[in-house]
């Protein structure tokens, strides 16, 4: 089950939509997310907290968050083929990535800042610490950003990133992927994740992908090829929906008298 499995569910927002939405965000399902300590991904061994996290039902500090404006975004910010170009378009398989940012109640999240970054078509990042021998593309920077519209939709144009080897095991490779950073409406919704490509056999050999225990959760990060959204003689298209945390409705909120 890949990304295309979600629209049927998405098309039926919850009945509670009309209720007031003042409660905290749903508890994070920590078994759906990767654990902090995942020894197959070696860097996590020294960077994983060992005490249990302290549960904190959301306060105003977590239920608010910065909001970004469309005026902060430039016209080429969502075009990685052109936004760093010096002498011509970036090299690689041209494609459009699009989707919606939803919450767990299947409601769109408008005004969400979506940031993305990736390696070039050869699998090389533009970064001074990058040591992979694949060539740098002088016309590819590798970063972009956009803000979701009123229906939670986003899209950007890029080239398909290459797979690349990385120092973990002697010969570990990352599958082709795009990094995503998301701001919803509250700091509690803050999320960073990665997008993979449907049908890539390298997904199932990756020590970072496998930090996620549930195959269905990995499928949720796997974008699906959408032939209908391709641009003829121009670009492929992949659909990638992203789900941020949903919020409790306050049918019987637990409040002290007088508040």
């Amino acid at each position: 089950m890949q990304q295309k499995a979600t629209p049927s569910e998405v098309s039926e927002p919850r009945q509670e939509q009309t209720m007031s939405l003042e409660g905290g965000y749903y508890q994070r399902d920590r078994s759906w997310h990767p654990a902090a300590l995942t020894p197959q991904y070696k860097t996590s061994v020294l960077r994983s907290p060992q005490y249990p996290l302290l549960a904190l039902d959301n306060t105003i500090s977590e239920m608010t968050g910065p909001r970004f404006g469309h005026n902060q975004i430039g016209p080429l910010d969502n075009d990685l083929i052109r936004n760093f170009a010096k002498t011509g378009d970036a090299i690689g398989q041209r494609m459009i990535v699009y989707g919606r940012v939803l919450d767990e109640n299947a409601r769109p999240v408008p005004g969400a800042l979506v940031e993305f970054w990736q390696a070039n078509a050869g699998g090389r990042y533009r970064h001074k610490k990058e040591t992979y021998l694949a060539a740098i593309d002088p016309n590819f920077g590798g970063c972009g950003r956009t803000i979701t519209d009123e229906e939670g939709r986003y899209w950007f144009r890029t080239i398909k990133p290459g797979a690349y080897p990385w120092p973990n095991g002697v010969n570990d490779w990352r599958p082709a992927h795009i990094h995503f950073s998301l701001f919803g409406h509250a700091f509690a919704q803050r999320l960073i994740t990665q997008m993979y490509f449907e049908g890539d056999p390298m997904i199932w050999q990756c020590p970072i992908v496998s930090t996620i225990a549930d195959k269905a959760a990995i499928d949720q990060l796997t974008a699906v090829l959408d032939r209908n959204a391709t641009l003829p003689m121009d670009a492929l298209a992949y659909k990638f929906d992203i789900v941020l945390r949903g919020r409790r409705s306050t049918m019987f909120e637990n409040r002290m008298e007088g508040n």
Partner: protein, 208 residues
């Protein structure tokens, strides 16, 4: 068959990786010309209300070494305890203070720095006031899901003592991990907030 809930699952997190700065602060890693200024670098302007402070610190891994490839974000109320957010229902925050900041840890020292203001107090769910605090969120290579903590201020002992969130920390010795020590640098008050991912001084992280 029983009815089905129509809720979706939150997209699972993945590590921000070693090159988070390409996406978050490209100008800082010499990817220039895509956009002029990285988001979140400046919190305070001349018209911002409140006491100017410098928040700084390092993030240490389990071997005691500072992490040099992390990204730190902060989120805080203004000087009157209001958040500059559409979700803030209690009043209008200082329009000259965004309240959100983003900085990389330095590539050689591992230090992060924010010039900001000291926030006012914000109520807990039951109306009691929490002590002044700054939400701190860190991501990096090797961190599979962003870590969420809070910075409290060493010169707010009375407020800290009655903060309902700090009161939830069972092992009182760990309280100290959330208290930033006040100092001074070039005449500006500083608060040093070192974060320890593991070990005896492991910072209290929250599941929010």
């Amino acid at each position: 068959m029983f009815q089905r809930l129509t809720t979706l699952k939150e997209s699972p997190s993945q590590t921000a990786g070693p090159y988070i700065h390409i996406g978050a602060t490209p100008n800082w890693v010499e990817i220039t010309g895509v956009w002029d200024e990285d988001l979140g670098l400046v919190l305070v302007g001349p018209e911002t209300k409140g006491e100017r402070i410098l928040v700084k610190g390092r993030i240490f891994d389990g071997s005691g070494h500072p992490i040099k490839d992390a990204l730190v974000e902060i989120w805080q109320a203004d000087a009157d305890g209001l958040y500059n957010s559409p979700e803030e229902k209690r009043g209008k925050a200082d329009p000259h203070f965004v309240g959100w900041g983003r900085q990389p840890t330095d590539g050689s020292t591992g230090e992060y720095r924010f010039e900001t203001i000291k926030p006012g107090r914000v109520p807990y769910k039951d109306g009691r006031l929490m002590a002044p605090h700054i939400t701190v969120w860190i991501v990096a290579r090797g961190i599979n899901i962003g870590l969420h903590t809070r910075l409290y201020f060493s010169d707010e002992a009375a407020a800290n003592a009655e903060c309902p969130v700090l009161a939830r920390i069972e092992h009182k010795v760990r309280l100290a991990t959330l208290i930033a020590a006040r100092g001074e640098e070039n005449g500006m008050p500083t608060y040093t907030f070192d974060i320890h991912l593991q070990g005896d001084k492991e910072t209290v992280f929250f599941d929010i």
